[in-house]
Amino acid sequence: MNPAIALRMVGADFLKIRKKYSTLIWALVLALLPVIIFFLVNAIEHSSSPATHEPAGGTEHFITGLRLLGGLFFGPLVAILIGVEAGTSDLSAGVFRDIVVTGRSRLALFASRVPAALALCWSVIVLSYALILLGTFVFAGNLPTPSGTLILNGLGFLLLATGVLCAVSVGFSSLVGSKPGAIIALIAWQLVAGSLISSISSLGSARDGVLSQALSHFSPVNLNGGGHHDHGGPTILNMSGGTALLVLIAWLVVFLGLGSWRTRTMDA
Protein backbone atom coordinates (compact mmCIF):
# COMPACT_ATOMS: atom_id res chain seq x y z
CA MET A 1 0.00 0.00 0.00
CA ASN A 2 1.07 3.56 -0.67
CA PRO A 3 3.01 4.80 2.43
CA ALA A 4 1.27 8.19 2.22
CA ILE A 5 -2.14 6.52 2.49
CA ALA A 6 -0.87 4.30 5.32
CA LEU A 7 0.25 7.41 7.18
CA ARG A 8 -3.12 9.09 6.61
CA MET A 9 -4.90 6.02 7.93
CA VAL A 10 -2.74 6.01 11.04
CA GLY A 11 -3.52 9.71 11.46
CA ALA A 12 -7.25 9.01 11.18
CA ASP A 13 -7.06 6.25 13.79
CA PHE A 14 -5.02 8.52 16.03
CA LEU A 15 -7.70 11.21 15.70
CA LYS A 16 -10.42 8.73 16.71
CA ILE A 17 -8.69 7.68 19.94
CA ARG A 18 -7.18 11.06 20.80
CA LYS A 19 -10.61 12.64 20.74
CA LYS A 20 -12.14 9.90 22.87
CA TYR A 21 -11.79 12.07 25.96
CA SER A 22 -13.15 9.53 28.43
CA THR A 23 -10.32 7.14 27.58
CA LEU A 24 -7.70 9.86 27.29
CA ILE A 25 -8.59 11.40 30.65
CA TRP A 26 -8.46 8.02 32.38
CA ALA A 27 -5.09 7.31 30.76
CA LEU A 28 -3.72 10.68 31.90
CA VAL A 29 -5.08 10.22 35.41
CA LEU A 30 -3.53 6.75 35.69
CA ALA A 31 -0.21 7.92 34.29
CA LEU A 32 0.16 11.24 36.09
CA LEU A 33 -1.79 11.16 39.33
CA PRO A 34 0.16 8.38 41.09
CA VAL A 35 3.43 10.11 40.19
CA ILE A 36 2.17 13.47 41.47
CA ILE A 37 0.87 11.93 44.68
CA PHE A 38 4.10 9.98 45.20
CA PHE A 39 6.39 13.01 44.95
CA LEU A 40 3.97 15.30 46.76
CA VAL A 41 3.63 12.99 49.78
CA ASN A 42 7.38 12.45 49.98
CA ALA A 43 8.04 16.16 49.63
CA ILE A 44 5.55 16.99 52.42
CA GLU A 45 7.03 14.31 54.68
CA HIS A 46 10.52 15.61 54.06
CA SER A 47 9.58 19.21 54.68
CA SER A 48 7.72 18.33 57.87
CA SER A 49 10.46 16.07 59.23
CA PRO A 50 13.76 16.36 57.32
CA ALA A 51 15.58 14.30 59.93
CA THR A 52 13.47 11.17 59.45
CA HIS A 53 12.46 11.57 55.81
CA GLU A 54 15.01 12.05 53.08
CA PRO A 55 14.30 14.40 50.14
CA ALA A 56 11.55 13.28 47.72
CA GLY A 57 13.81 13.18 44.67
CA GLY A 58 17.10 11.55 43.76
CA THR A 59 17.93 8.17 42.29
CA GLU A 60 16.08 6.15 44.94
CA HIS A 61 12.80 7.90 44.28
CA PHE A 62 13.40 7.89 40.54
CA ILE A 63 13.59 4.10 40.70
CA THR A 64 10.42 3.92 42.76
CA GLY A 65 8.69 6.21 40.28
CA LEU A 66 9.86 3.98 37.46
CA ARG A 67 8.43 0.96 39.26
CA LEU A 68 5.20 2.83 39.82
CA LEU A 69 4.80 3.64 36.15
CA GLY A 70 6.57 0.84 34.34
CA GLY A 71 6.56 -1.66 37.18
CA LEU A 72 3.77 -3.49 35.53
CA PHE A 73 0.89 -1.49 36.98
CA PHE A 74 -0.03 2.07 35.99
CA GLY A 75 1.88 2.08 32.71
CA PRO A 76 0.32 -1.22 31.65
CA LEU A 77 -3.13 0.07 32.57
CA VAL A 78 -2.60 3.04 30.28
CA ALA A 79 -1.37 0.74 27.51
CA ILE A 80 -4.37 -1.54 27.87
CA LEU A 81 -6.93 1.28 27.88
CA ILE A 82 -5.48 2.93 24.79
CA GLY A 83 -4.78 -0.32 22.95
CA VAL A 84 -8.31 -1.58 23.50
CA GLU A 85 -9.79 1.75 22.44
CA ALA A 86 -7.82 1.59 19.18
CA GLY A 87 -8.76 -2.05 18.62
CA THR A 88 -12.50 -1.59 19.13
CA SER A 89 -13.12 2.03 18.17
CA ASP A 90 -14.58 1.36 14.71
CA LEU A 91 -16.48 -1.73 15.79
CA SER A 92 -18.10 -0.18 18.84
CA ALA A 93 -19.10 2.92 16.87
CA GLY A 94 -20.54 0.68 14.14
CA VAL A 95 -18.46 2.31 11.40
CA PHE A 96 -16.25 -0.65 10.61
CA ARG A 97 -18.54 -1.65 7.72
CA ASP A 98 -18.39 1.91 6.36
CA ILE A 99 -14.62 1.70 6.25
CA VAL A 100 -14.70 -1.78 4.71
CA VAL A 101 -16.91 -0.57 1.86
CA THR A 102 -14.20 1.84 0.77
CA GLY A 103 -12.55 -1.26 -0.70
CA ARG A 104 -9.37 -0.78 1.34
CA SER A 105 -7.86 -4.08 2.50
CA ARG A 106 -8.98 -5.16 5.93
CA LEU A 107 -5.41 -6.00 6.83
CA ALA A 108 -4.47 -2.37 6.21
CA LEU A 109 -7.40 -1.25 8.35
CA PHE A 110 -6.14 -3.41 11.22
CA ALA A 111 -2.50 -2.49 10.75
CA SER A 112 -3.15 1.24 11.03
CA ARG A 113 -4.59 0.80 14.53
CA VAL A 114 -1.31 -0.34 16.04
CA PRO A 115 0.92 2.70 15.32
CA ALA A 116 -1.96 5.04 16.19
CA ALA A 117 -2.35 3.37 19.58
CA LEU A 118 1.39 3.37 20.17
CA ALA A 119 1.64 7.06 19.32
CA LEU A 120 -0.98 8.02 21.90
CA CYS A 121 0.18 5.54 24.53
CA TRP A 122 3.80 6.64 24.30
CA SER A 123 2.81 10.32 24.36
CA VAL A 124 1.08 9.77 27.71
CA ILE A 125 3.89 7.61 29.07
CA VAL A 126 6.60 10.10 28.03
CA LEU A 127 4.63 12.87 29.73
CA SER A 128 4.47 10.85 32.91
CA TYR A 129 8.16 9.96 32.67
CA ALA A 130 8.98 13.63 32.27
CA LEU A 131 7.05 14.25 35.48
CA ILE A 132 9.09 11.58 37.26
CA LEU A 133 12.31 13.19 36.08
CA LEU A 134 11.05 16.60 37.17
CA GLY A 135 10.31 15.32 40.68
CA THR A 136 13.58 13.40 40.76
CA PHE A 137 15.69 16.47 40.10
CA VAL A 138 13.59 19.22 41.71
CA PHE A 139 13.27 17.34 45.01
CA ALA A 140 16.75 15.75 44.93
CA GLY A 141 18.20 17.96 47.66
CA ASN A 142 21.58 16.49 48.57
CA LEU A 143 20.79 13.04 47.18
CA PRO A 144 22.51 11.63 44.09
CA THR A 145 20.52 11.87 40.85
CA PRO A 146 20.19 9.15 38.19
CA SER A 147 22.78 8.92 35.47
CA GLY A 148 21.99 9.70 31.87
CA THR A 149 22.32 6.01 31.06
CA LEU A 150 19.79 5.03 33.70
CA ILE A 151 17.40 7.73 32.49
CA LEU A 152 17.64 6.52 28.90
CA ASN A 153 17.37 2.87 29.89
CA GLY A 154 14.36 3.70 32.02
CA LEU A 155 12.70 5.45 29.12
CA GLY A 156 13.54 2.59 26.77
CA PHE A 157 12.10 0.07 29.18
CA LEU A 158 8.90 2.05 29.65
CA LEU A 159 8.41 2.40 25.91
CA LEU A 160 9.09 -1.31 25.38
CA ALA A 161 6.84 -2.51 28.20
CA THR A 162 3.90 -0.27 27.40
CA GLY A 163 4.41 -0.60 23.64
CA VAL A 164 4.30 -4.40 23.66
CA LEU A 165 1.27 -4.46 25.94
CA CYS A 166 -0.47 -1.77 23.89
CA ALA A 167 0.07 -3.72 20.65
CA VAL A 168 -1.09 -6.95 22.30
CA SER A 169 -4.16 -5.08 23.53
CA VAL A 170 -4.96 -3.87 20.01
CA GLY A 171 -4.72 -7.43 18.71
CA PHE A 172 -6.67 -9.00 21.55
CA SER A 173 -9.46 -6.42 21.49
CA SER A 174 -9.74 -6.69 17.69
CA LEU A 175 -10.14 -10.42 18.20
CA VAL A 176 -12.71 -10.12 20.97
CA GLY A 177 -14.56 -7.13 19.51
CA SER A 178 -15.87 -6.02 22.88
CA LYS A 179 -14.28 -3.07 24.64
CA PRO A 180 -15.38 -3.87 28.21
CA GLY A 181 -14.65 -7.56 27.75
CA ALA A 182 -11.18 -6.93 26.40
CA ILE A 183 -10.29 -4.44 29.16
CA ILE A 184 -11.45 -6.75 31.92
CA ALA A 185 -9.69 -9.79 30.45
CA LEU A 186 -6.40 -7.97 29.85
CA ILE A 187 -6.30 -6.34 33.26
CA ALA A 188 -7.22 -9.61 34.93
CA TRP A 189 -4.47 -11.39 33.05
CA GLN A 190 -1.76 -8.77 33.30
CA LEU A 191 -2.27 -7.66 36.89
CA VAL A 192 -3.75 -10.72 38.57
CA ALA A 193 -3.35 -14.00 36.71
CA GLY A 194 0.15 -13.20 35.44
CA SER A 195 1.44 -12.46 38.95
CA LEU A 196 -0.36 -15.49 40.34
CA ILE A 197 1.10 -17.86 37.74
CA SER A 198 4.56 -16.40 38.24
CA SER A 199 4.40 -17.16 41.96
CA ILE A 200 3.56 -20.87 41.45
CA SER A 201 7.04 -22.39 41.52
CA SER A 202 5.82 -25.85 40.52
CA LEU A 203 5.11 -24.46 37.02
CA GLY A 204 8.87 -24.10 36.53
CA SER A 205 10.06 -22.61 33.27
CA ALA A 206 6.52 -22.52 31.89
CA ARG A 207 6.23 -19.28 33.83
CA ASP A 208 8.70 -17.69 31.40
CA GLY A 209 5.77 -17.40 29.02
CA VAL A 210 4.08 -14.81 31.21
CA LEU A 211 4.36 -11.48 29.40
CA SER A 212 5.16 -9.41 32.48
CA GLN A 213 8.04 -11.74 33.31
CA ALA A 214 9.59 -11.33 29.90
CA LEU A 215 9.14 -7.56 30.06
CA SER A 216 10.71 -7.40 33.52
CA HIS A 217 13.88 -8.84 32.10
CA PHE A 218 14.48 -5.57 30.22
CA SER A 219 13.97 -3.31 33.20
CA PRO A 220 17.05 -1.35 34.30
CA VAL A 221 15.84 -1.60 37.91
CA ASN A 222 14.56 -4.48 40.00
CA LEU A 223 10.82 -4.36 39.64
CA ASN A 224 9.97 -6.50 42.63
CA GLY A 225 10.86 -3.62 44.91
CA GLY A 226 14.32 -5.03 45.52
CA GLY A 227 17.49 -3.08 45.14
CA HIS A 228 18.19 -1.53 48.49
CA HIS A 229 15.10 -2.99 50.08
CA ASP A 230 12.79 -5.87 49.28
CA HIS A 231 9.26 -4.51 49.45
CA GLY A 232 7.65 -7.88 48.82
CA GLY A 233 6.69 -7.00 45.25
CA PRO A 234 5.78 -9.41 42.46
CA THR A 235 7.87 -12.48 41.78
CA ILE A 236 10.51 -11.80 39.12
CA LEU A 237 11.99 -14.85 37.42
CA ASN A 238 15.45 -15.16 36.00
CA MET A 239 15.47 -15.84 32.29
CA SER A 240 17.94 -15.25 29.48
CA GLY A 241 17.65 -12.21 27.23
CA GLY A 242 17.02 -14.48 24.26
CA THR A 243 14.17 -16.23 25.99
CA ALA A 244 12.65 -12.94 27.08
CA LEU A 245 12.88 -11.59 23.55
CA LEU A 246 11.31 -14.74 22.10
CA VAL A 247 8.44 -14.53 24.58
CA LEU A 248 7.76 -10.90 23.63
CA ILE A 249 7.85 -11.74 19.92
CA ALA A 250 5.55 -14.71 20.48
CA TRP A 251 2.98 -12.58 22.30
CA LEU A 252 3.08 -9.96 19.55
CA VAL A 253 2.89 -12.46 16.71
CA VAL A 254 0.06 -14.45 18.28
CA PHE A 255 -2.18 -11.55 19.26
CA LEU A 256 -1.51 -9.29 16.29
CA GLY A 257 -2.01 -12.35 14.08
CA LEU A 258 -5.31 -13.24 15.75
CA GLY A 259 -6.50 -9.64 15.65
CA SER A 260 -5.71 -9.25 11.96
CA TRP A 261 -7.27 -12.64 11.15
CA ARG A 262 -10.48 -11.65 12.90
CA THR A 263 -10.54 -8.26 11.20
CA ARG A 264 -10.05 -9.88 7.78
CA THR A 265 -12.63 -12.61 8.20
CA MET A 266 -15.42 -11.20 10.35
CA ASP A 267 -18.81 -10.18 8.97
CA ALA A 268 -18.78 -6.39 9.07
Binding site: M9, D13, I99, R104
Partner: protein
Protein backbone atom coordinates in the same frame (compact mmCIF):
# COMPACT_ATOMS: atom_id res chain seq x y z
CA UNK B 1 -21.17 20.14 -6.11
CA UNK B 2 -17.47 20.11 -6.77
CA UNK B 3 -17.31 16.34 -7.08
CA UNK B 4 -17.49 15.77 -10.84
CA UNK B 5 -21.04 16.49 -11.93
CA UNK B 6 -20.86 13.87 -14.64
CA UNK B 7 -18.85 10.98 -13.29
CA UNK B 8 -16.53 9.23 -15.71
CA UNK B 9 -17.98 5.93 -16.73
CA UNK B 10 -15.74 2.90 -16.44
CA UNK B 11 -14.25 1.92 -19.75
CA UNK B 12 -15.29 -1.69 -19.24
CA UNK B 13 -18.85 -0.70 -18.56
CA UNK B 14 -21.19 -3.48 -19.53
CA UNK B 15 -24.21 -1.23 -19.19
CA UNK B 16 -24.85 -2.81 -15.82
CA UNK B 17 -23.83 -1.21 -12.55
CA UNK B 18 -24.57 -4.40 -10.65
CA UNK B 19 -24.87 -7.89 -12.01
CA UNK B 20 -25.29 -11.09 -10.02
CA UNK B 21 -25.74 -14.66 -11.20
CA UNK B 22 -27.00 -17.38 -8.91
CA UNK B 23 -25.97 -15.46 -5.82
CA UNK B 24 -26.59 -17.59 -2.77
CA UNK B 25 -26.00 -16.89 0.90
CA UNK B 26 -26.87 -19.19 3.78
CA UNK B 27 -26.90 -18.63 7.50
CA UNK B 28 -26.75 -22.16 8.83
CA UNK B 29 -29.87 -23.96 7.65
CA UNK B 30 -31.57 -20.77 6.51
CA UNK B 31 -31.07 -19.62 2.92
CA UNK B 32 -31.05 -15.83 2.94
CA UNK B 33 -30.29 -15.41 -0.77
CA UNK B 34 -31.44 -18.15 -3.09
CA UNK B 35 -29.82 -17.95 -6.52
CA UNK B 36 -30.28 -14.22 -7.06
CA UNK B 37 -29.93 -13.02 -10.67
CA UNK B 38 -29.96 -9.24 -10.58
CA UNK B 39 -29.21 -6.70 -13.28
CA UNK B 40 -29.06 -3.01 -12.37
CA UNK B 41 -28.67 -0.74 -15.42
CA UNK B 42 -26.14 2.10 -15.32
CA UNK B 43 -27.52 5.59 -14.88
CA UNK B 44 -30.79 4.60 -13.26
CA UNK B 45 -32.43 4.71 -9.87
CA UNK B 46 -33.11 1.08 -9.09
CA UNK B 47 -35.36 -0.03 -6.27
CA UNK B 48 -34.82 -3.28 -4.45
CA UNK B 49 -38.19 -3.90 -2.96
CA UNK B 50 -39.24 -6.47 -0.44
CA UNK B 51 -40.82 -7.01 2.93
CA UNK B 52 -38.73 -7.04 6.09
CA UNK B 53 -36.53 -10.13 6.20
CA UNK B 54 -36.72 -10.68 2.44
CA UNK B 55 -32.93 -10.52 2.01
CA UNK B 56 -32.50 -6.90 0.92
CA UNK B 57 -29.77 -6.01 3.38
CA UNK B 58 -28.08 -9.38 2.94
CA UNK B 59 -27.58 -8.86 -0.79
CA UNK B 60 -26.17 -5.39 -0.14
CA UNK B 61 -23.80 -6.72 2.49
CA UNK B 62 -22.73 -9.52 0.16
CA UNK B 63 -22.16 -7.19 -2.78
CA UNK B 64 -20.04 -4.88 -0.64
CA UNK B 65 -17.93 -7.68 0.81
CA UNK B 66 -19.22 -7.24 4.34
CA UNK B 67 -20.10 -10.92 4.31
CA UNK B 68 -19.17 -13.66 1.87
CA UNK B 69 -21.39 -15.41 -0.65
CA UNK B 70 -21.77 -19.18 -0.58
CA UNK B 71 -22.31 -19.49 -4.33
CA UNK B 72 -22.78 -17.42 -7.48
CA UNK B 73 -20.96 -14.56 -9.14
CA UNK B 74 -21.15 -10.78 -8.74
CA UNK B 75 -19.84 -7.79 -10.63
CA UNK B 76 -19.92 -4.13 -9.64
CA UNK B 77 -19.25 -1.48 -12.29
CA UNK B 78 -17.84 -4.19 -14.50
CA UNK B 79 -15.41 -5.52 -11.90
CA UNK B 80 -15.91 -9.06 -10.63
CA UNK B 81 -16.11 -9.19 -6.86
CA UNK B 82 -14.54 -10.28 -4.62
CA UNK B 83 -11.64 -10.77 -7.08
CA UNK B 84 -11.40 -7.05 -7.93
CA UNK B 85 -13.17 -5.75 -4.84
CA UNK B 86 -10.88 -2.79 -4.28
CA UNK B 87 -11.26 -1.49 -7.85
CA UNK B 88 -14.99 -2.20 -7.82
CA UNK B 89 -15.64 -0.23 -4.63
CA UNK B 90 -13.38 2.71 -5.45
CA UNK B 91 -16.31 4.57 -7.05
CA UNK B 92 -19.06 3.15 -4.87
CA UNK B 93 -20.71 4.93 -1.95
CA UNK B 94 -22.92 2.95 0.40
CA UNK B 95 -25.11 3.30 3.44
CA UNK B 96 -25.82 -0.08 4.98
CA UNK B 97 -28.71 -0.12 7.43
CA UNK B 98 -28.64 3.11 9.43
CA UNK B 99 -25.64 5.37 8.93
CA UNK B 100 -23.27 5.10 11.90
CA UNK B 101 -20.52 7.48 12.95
CA UNK B 102 -17.98 8.16 15.65
CA UNK B 103 -20.28 10.19 17.87
CA UNK B 104 -17.41 11.90 19.67
CA UNK B 105 -16.08 13.36 16.41
CA UNK B 106 -17.57 16.18 14.38
CA UNK B 107 -19.26 15.60 11.05
CA UNK B 108 -16.22 16.94 9.23
CA UNK B 109 -13.83 14.78 11.27
CA UNK B 110 -15.90 11.70 10.50
CA UNK B 111 -15.58 12.45 6.80
CA UNK B 112 -11.85 13.05 7.25
CA UNK B 113 -11.41 9.55 8.69
CA UNK B 114 -13.05 8.06 5.60
CA UNK B 115 -11.17 10.37 3.22
CA UNK B 116 -7.94 9.18 4.83
CA UNK B 117 -8.78 5.60 3.88
CA UNK B 118 -9.94 6.42 0.35
CA UNK B 119 -6.94 8.53 -0.67
CA UNK B 120 -5.48 12.05 -0.66
CA UNK B 121 -7.55 13.23 -3.63
CA UNK B 122 -10.70 12.77 -1.53
CA UNK B 123 -9.88 15.58 0.93
CA UNK B 124 -11.01 18.17 -1.59
CA UNK B 125 -14.47 16.55 -1.75
CA UNK B 126 -15.25 16.94 1.96
CA UNK B 127 -16.46 20.54 1.91
CA UNK B 128 -18.51 20.17 -1.31
CA UNK B 129 -20.10 16.97 -0.01
CA UNK B 130 -21.10 18.69 3.23
CA UNK B 131 -22.50 21.62 1.24
CA UNK B 132 -24.39 19.28 -1.06
CA UNK B 133 -26.31 17.75 1.85
CA UNK B 134 -26.77 21.08 3.62
CA UNK B 135 -24.52 20.38 6.58
CA UNK B 136 -21.80 22.99 6.09
CA UNK B 137 -23.04 25.02 9.05
CA UNK B 138 -23.12 22.06 11.41
CA UNK B 139 -20.02 20.28 10.10
CA UNK B 140 -17.88 21.23 13.07
CA UNK B 141 -20.34 20.06 15.70
CA UNK B 142 -20.12 16.60 17.20
CA UNK B 143 -22.29 14.01 15.48
CA UNK B 144 -23.91 13.07 18.79
CA UNK B 145 -25.75 16.41 18.59
CA UNK B 146 -27.16 15.58 15.12
CA UNK B 147 -30.76 14.54 14.50
CA UNK B 148 -31.51 11.29 12.67
CA UNK B 149 -32.19 13.22 9.48
CA UNK B 150 -28.85 15.01 9.74
CA UNK B 151 -27.08 11.70 10.23
CA UNK B 152 -28.78 10.35 7.12
CA UNK B 153 -27.54 13.40 5.22
CA UNK B 154 -24.05 13.00 6.63
CA UNK B 155 -24.22 9.37 5.48
CA UNK B 156 -24.95 10.57 1.96
CA UNK B 157 -22.07 13.06 2.22
CA UNK B 158 -19.82 10.15 3.20
CA UNK B 159 -20.98 8.31 0.08
CA UNK B 160 -20.23 11.34 -2.08
CA UNK B 161 -16.58 11.28 -1.00
CA UNK B 162 -16.11 8.41 -3.45
CA UNK B 163 -17.47 10.58 -6.28
CA UNK B 164 -19.62 7.51 -6.77
CA UNK B 165 -20.72 6.04 -10.05
CA UNK B 166 -22.93 3.82 -7.92
CA UNK B 167 -24.67 4.64 -4.66
CA UNK B 168 -26.07 1.77 -2.64
CA UNK B 169 -28.58 2.96 -0.06
CA UNK B 170 -30.23 0.60 2.38
CA UNK B 171 -33.63 1.90 3.58
CA UNK B 172 -32.42 5.49 3.13
CA UNK B 173 -35.59 7.26 4.20
CA UNK B 174 -35.87 5.52 7.56
CA UNK B 175 -36.23 8.14 10.27
CA UNK B 176 -36.81 11.04 7.86
CA UNK B 177 -39.81 13.32 8.21
CA UNK B 178 -42.01 13.93 5.13
CA UNK B 179 -40.05 17.05 4.20
CA UNK B 180 -36.81 15.15 4.51
CA UNK B 181 -38.15 12.31 2.38
CA UNK B 182 -39.18 14.74 -0.36
CA UNK B 183 -35.78 16.46 -0.21
CA UNK B 184 -34.04 13.10 -0.32
CA UNK B 185 -36.10 11.97 -3.31
CA UNK B 186 -35.19 15.12 -5.21
CA UNK B 187 -31.53 14.61 -4.43
CA UNK B 188 -31.63 11.03 -5.73
CA UNK B 189 -33.37 12.10 -8.93
CA UNK B 190 -30.81 14.89 -9.45
CA UNK B 191 -27.96 12.43 -8.98
CA UNK B 192 -29.41 10.16 -11.62
CA UNK B 193 -30.77 12.65 -14.14
CA UNK B 194 -28.22 15.48 -13.89
CA UNK B 195 -25.09 13.67 -12.80
CA UNK B 196 -25.52 10.28 -14.47
CA UNK B 197 -24.97 8.29 -11.30
CA UNK B 198 -26.62 4.96 -10.57
CA UNK B 199 -28.55 4.70 -7.33
CA UNK B 200 -29.55 1.34 -5.88
CA UNK B 201 -32.14 1.73 -3.14
CA UNK B 202 -33.42 -1.07 -0.97
CA UNK B 203 -36.73 -0.36 0.66
CA UNK B 204 -39.88 -1.91 1.98
CA UNK B 205 -41.74 1.33 1.15
CA UNK B 206 -43.45 0.68 -2.17
CA UNK B 207 -44.63 4.20 -2.64
CA UNK B 208 -41.13 5.52 -2.12
CA UNK B 209 -39.63 3.20 -4.72
CA UNK B 210 -42.40 3.96 -7.20
CA UNK B 211 -41.83 7.70 -6.87
CA UNK B 212 -38.04 7.61 -6.86
CA UNK B 213 -36.93 4.76 -9.07
CA UNK B 214 -36.90 4.01 -12.78
CA UNK B 215 -36.71 0.26 -12.33
CA UNK B 216 -37.03 -2.21 -9.52
CA UNK B 217 -36.73 -5.80 -8.45
CA UNK B 218 -39.16 -7.38 -6.04
CA UNK B 219 -37.54 -9.79 -3.64
CA UNK B 220 -39.07 -12.10 -1.10
CA UNK B 221 -37.63 -14.94 0.95
CA UNK B 222 -34.26 -14.55 -0.73
CA UNK B 223 -35.61 -14.87 -4.28
CA UNK B 224 -36.15 -12.22 -6.93
CA UNK B 225 -39.77 -12.54 -7.93
CA UNK B 226 -39.68 -10.09 -10.79
CA UNK B 227 -37.63 -7.13 -12.05
CA UNK B 228 -37.92 -4.48 -14.70
CA UNK B 229 -39.06 -0.92 -15.33
CA UNK B 230 -41.48 0.40 -12.70
CA UNK B 231 -44.27 0.83 -15.26
CA UNK B 232 -43.74 -2.71 -16.58
CA UNK B 233 -43.69 -4.13 -13.09
CA UNK B 234 -46.90 -2.38 -12.16
CA UNK B 235 -48.80 -3.27 -15.31
CA UNK B 236 -47.06 -6.22 -16.83
CA UNK B 237 -47.51 -8.79 -14.20
CA UNK B 238 -51.23 -8.98 -14.38
CA UNK B 239 -52.95 -10.92 -17.15
CA UNK B 240 -56.19 -9.09 -16.56
CA UNK B 241 -56.99 -5.58 -17.75
CA UNK B 242 -59.58 -3.36 -16.15
CA UNK B 243 -61.48 -0.20 -17.08
CA UNK B 244 -63.31 2.41 -15.10
CA UNK B 245 -66.40 3.64 -16.93
CA UNK B 246 -68.46 6.74 -16.24
CA UNK B 247 -71.90 6.40 -17.92
CA UNK B 248 -75.24 8.21 -17.73
CA UNK B 249 -77.27 5.01 -17.20
CA UNK B 250 -75.43 2.44 -15.13
CA UNK B 251 -78.20 -0.19 -15.13
CA UNK B 252 -78.49 -0.31 -18.91
CA UNK B 253 -74.73 -0.19 -19.29
CA UNK B 254 -74.35 -3.22 -17.00
CA UNK B 255 -76.82 -5.04 -19.22
CA UNK B 256 -74.83 -4.24 -22.36
CA UNK B 257 -71.54 -5.14 -20.72
CA UNK B 258 -72.93 -8.36 -19.30
CA UNK B 259 -73.88 -9.49 -22.81
CA UNK B 260 -70.48 -8.63 -24.31
CA UNK B 261 -67.94 -11.37 -24.97
CA UNK B 262 -65.20 -8.78 -24.37
CA UNK B 263 -66.18 -8.39 -20.71
CA UNK B 264 -65.37 -10.93 -18.04
CA UNK B 265 -66.91 -9.02 -15.19
CA UNK B 266 -68.70 -5.71 -14.67
CA UNK B 267 -69.77 -4.20 -11.37
CA UNK B 268 -70.50 -0.91 -9.70
CA UNK B 269 -67.75 0.77 -7.71
CA UNK B 270 -67.24 4.12 -6.00
CA UNK B 271 -65.50 5.43 -9.11
CA UNK B 272 -68.17 4.23 -11.58
CA UNK B 273 -68.43 0.90 -13.34
CA UNK B 274 -65.46 -1.35 -12.95
CA UNK B 275 -65.02 -3.63 -15.94
CA UNK B 276 -62.67 -6.59 -16.20
CA UNK B 277 -61.82 -7.42 -19.80
CA UNK B 278 -61.44 -10.90 -21.22
CA UNK B 279 -58.74 -9.73 -23.63
CA UNK B 280 -56.35 -6.88 -24.22
CA UNK B 281 -56.91 -3.19 -23.41
CA UNK B 282 -57.41 -2.48 -27.11
CA UNK B 283 -60.90 -3.96 -26.81
CA UNK B 284 -61.88 -0.86 -24.79
CA UNK B 285 -62.64 0.98 -28.04
CA UNK B 286 -65.16 -1.70 -29.08
CA UNK B 287 -66.81 -1.61 -25.65
CA UNK B 288 -67.14 2.16 -25.93
CA UNK B 289 -68.69 1.76 -29.38
CA UNK B 290 -71.15 -0.86 -28.08
CA UNK B 291 -72.26 1.42 -25.24
CA UNK B 292 -72.62 4.46 -27.46
CA UNK B 293 -74.42 2.33 -30.04
CA UNK B 294 -76.91 1.34 -27.32
CA UNK B 295 -77.58 5.04 -26.67
CA UNK B 296 -75.63 5.20 -23.43
CA UNK B 297 -73.57 8.32 -22.83
CA UNK B 298 -69.95 7.54 -21.90
CA UNK B 299 -68.36 10.38 -19.94
CA UNK B 300 -65.29 8.49 -18.79
CA UNK B 301 -63.32 5.48 -19.96
CA UNK B 302 -60.06 4.93 -18.18
CA UNK B 303 -57.75 1.93 -18.01
CA UNK B 304 -56.92 0.97 -14.45
CA UNK B 305 -53.19 1.21 -13.90
CA UNK B 306 -52.01 -1.14 -11.21
CA UNK B 307 -49.82 0.47 -8.62
CA UNK B 308 -46.55 -1.12 -7.68
CA UNK B 309 -48.15 -1.88 -4.35
CA UNK B 310 -50.86 -3.97 -6.00
CA UNK B 311 -48.24 -5.76 -8.05
CA UNK B 312 -46.10 -6.31 -5.00
CA UNK B 313 -48.97 -7.80 -3.03
CA UNK B 314 -49.93 -9.93 -6.00
CA UNK B 315 -46.51 -11.47 -6.52
CA UNK B 316 -45.74 -11.98 -2.86
CA UNK B 317 -49.13 -13.57 -2.22
CA UNK B 318 -48.53 -15.80 -5.25
CA UNK B 319 -45.31 -16.90 -3.60
CA UNK B 320 -47.20 -17.60 -0.40
CA UNK B 321 -49.61 -19.79 -2.37
CA UNK B 322 -46.72 -21.60 -4.06
CA UNK B 323 -45.28 -22.42 -0.70
CA UNK B 324 -48.44 -24.10 0.53
CA UNK B 325 -47.80 -27.88 0.59
CA UNK B 326 -49.42 -29.99 -2.15
CA UNK B 327 -52.86 -31.17 -1.28
CA UNK B 328 -53.58 -28.16 0.87
CA UNK B 329 -53.25 -25.63 -1.93
CA UNK B 330 -56.60 -24.40 -3.10
Amino acid sequence: MAASPTPNLPSQASGLAIETRGLTKRFGERTALDGIDLQVPMGSAFGFLGPNGAGKTTIIRTLLGLTHADAGTMAILGHPVPAERSAALKRVGAIVEEPRFHMHLTGRENLRTIAAVRGPEVDARIAPALARVGLSDRADQKVKSYSMGMRQRLGVARCLLADPLLLILDEPTNGLDPGGIQEFREMIRAMVEQEGRTVFISSHLLDEVEKTCDAAAIVDRGKIITQGAISDLADGGSARHELILGVDDADRALGVLGASALVAEARRSDEGLRVVLTGELSSAAQINADLVGAGIGVARLEPVRQSLEQRFLEVTSRLDADLVPDGVKA
